[in-house]
């Protein structure tokens, strides 16, 4: 509307501010590019913004991050992004939420399910590949960004499983090589080291690709409403690489790779069912709720989450020093080297002699799972808050069910939850036995 605070951008032909006011974007990563994307989202008036990162600010972040200052060193990046956005957002009642989390293991798919577009500003291949898979499962467009010195890359994929994802831009061998380094490591410290690099980056490339990411997001929002508007073509399936040396943007148009295993959607199985369940519920409470709702021939499965990353539950293992059987009872991605030593070898400070190994558990049922595990919460067995869990039937003719742990929404997305008047009518209380 003319005369509003966003008057100037509303003068762009075809531009509809309402589409931005009502849109929600999830910004994955709060580094250089994440800062720029978040700033542009707030200044264009995108109504719902979510920020996630697992890191805290260090002084080397400061030259590239518009939302951080010297006083913020040591503080949570995602929290600071949210604080900065609340100050600068041009909208009247934006929903700005954040969490500190490892995106691959601690960010629930159900959370992303409440956003329209995923914008990927991470710094490693494993997380990009993980998000490529999740975006197809959820049917959400994903804008992937990357920087390298003065150059930048952007790849926009639609949520359509018939079209390319980020993994389709790689060969099968390249994808497997990128994932196997973390998949085969039973040591969380090693996995984190694999993902931590000191890349060459500068604010100028982050600014450029951060601007383009919101440009693409705006195009996606308009394209959804009016697919025939050429000016708002999101250019899905195009990777664009800017090379500063010759000031050129080169486009690479991808088709779905026939060997890519990411092209499955929850919609193929009847969609996601919102539930009052939470990751704070025990395995037993969850299975009993499922039994009441759907009958008694279902079990909880971690298999879909293990497709690319180590999400299994480890029950027992052999001490990597003396070979003695030991209890582990932890999610695979949390296991550290010390967890694979028996008490005596750990106290003696003994070194590992054998490769790490463990009994991996994927399925949990009321009849077939021991009480110790049934009494653990979903979070204890590695399921993140606000995740989408898979419930499979012992009757193989039945499709699996995908249940969203919507009971976690008030805790993780308090502002979005508060602003959604429809959601406020539903009571998401912890399910008790």
């Amino acid at each position: 509307m003319k005369g509003t605070i966003t008057d100037r951008q509303e003068r762009i032909p075809g531009f509809q501010q309402d589409l931005l006011n009502n849109a929600r974007i999830a910004i994955i990563g709060a580094g250089r590019t994440g800062n720029e994307v978040a700033k542009n989202a707030a200044l264009t008036g995108i109504g719902g913004i979510f920020s996630v990162d697992m890191d805290h600010v260090s002084d080397t972040n400061l030259p590239g991050t518009v939302l951080f200052t010297r006083a913020d060193v040591g503080s949570s990046k995602a929290m600071l992004v949210a604080e900065g956005l609340r100050k600068m957002h041009v909208g009247e009642h934006p929903s700005i939420d954040w969490i500190d989390a490892d995106v691959c293991y601690e960010l629930g798919e159900g959370l992303l399910n409440h956003y329209d577009i995923i914008i990927n500003c991470v710094d490693n291949l494993q997380t990009r590949l993980h998000l490529a898979r999740v975006s197809k499962l959820l049917g959400k467009p994903c804008i992937d960004t990357g920087i390298d010195g003065f150059d930048w890359t952007i790849f926009t994929s639609s949520g359509d499983t018939a079209e390319a994802c980020y993994a389709c831009t790689m060969t099968e061998e390249e994808e497997e090589a990128a994932l196997s380094r973390v998949r085969n490591s039973c040591d969380v410290t090693l996995r984190k080291a694999i993902n931590t690099g000191k890349a060459a980056t500068i604010i100028t490339s982050a600014s450029q690709v951060g601007a383009l990411a919101i440009d693409r997001a705006i195009k996606i929002l308009h394209h959804k409403k009016a697919p025939n508007l050429k000016e708002y073509d999101p250019l899905f399936d195009r990777m664009m690489i800017f090379t500063s040396s010759d000031m050129r943007i080169t486009k690479y148009k991808y088709s779905r790779r026939c060997t890519c295993t990411n092209h499955i959607s929850y919609a193929d199985f009847g969609g996601v069912i919102k539930t009052p369940l939470s990751a704070s519920n025990t395995v037993r409470e969850t299975l009993l709720w499922v039994k009441r709702q759907f009958g008694d021939d279902y079990y909880l499965s971690l298999l879909k989450d293990c497709a690319k990353l180590p999400h299994a539950f480890i029950t027992t293992a052999k001490c990597t020093c003396c070979g003695k059987p030991i209890d582990v009872f932890m999610p695979q991605f949390k296991v550290e080297e010390k967890d694979l030593l028996c008490k005596e070898c750990f106290e003696n400070g003994s070194d590992s002699q054998f490769p790490s190994s463990g009994i991996r558990m994927f399925d949990f049922s009321l009849e077939g799972t021991e009480d110790r595990i049934l009494n653990m919460t979903l979070q204890d067995i590695g399921i993140p808050l606000f995740h989408i869990v898979e419930i499979d039937s012992f009757d193989e003719t039945k499709n699996p069910l995908f249940l969203e742990l919507t009971g976690d929404m008030p805790k993780l997305l308090p502002e979005l939850y508060k602003n959604e008047s429809a959601m406020n009518e539903v009571q998401y209380e912890l399910v008790k036995q």
Binding site: G146, I147, D148, D151, T153, F155, T171, M239
Partner: protein, 81 residues
């Protein structure tokens, strides 16, 4: 085996190559890196300049429909954030 002439374009520079049609794209890139034209990398992306169609690196030039005289743009996607 029939050979074709292709031009690799990277970072504002171009280099012409004569190579067999049954060479994979990956092999062409590897040879180019060995000769010092391309930087060493594990994740090149390649597209036909005319159509912007991305090539499948594990397939041959012929399988990718690369014609004699074609210019191929080569890029290395940035990964930092």
């Amino acid at each position: 085996m029939e050979e074709i002439t292709i031009t690799l374009s990277y970072g504002g520079n171009e280099q012409e190559y004569i190579c067999p049609k049954n060479w994979t794209v990956a092999r062409v890139l590897s040879e180019s890196a060995a000769q010092g034209f391309l930087p060493s990398a594990t994740n090149y992306v390649v597209a036909k300049e005319k159509t912007e169609e991305a090539l499948i690196n594990s397939r041959t030039l012929e399988e990718n429909g690369v014609q004699d005289g074609e210019v191929l743009n080569v890029g290395i996607p940035g990964k930092a954030g």
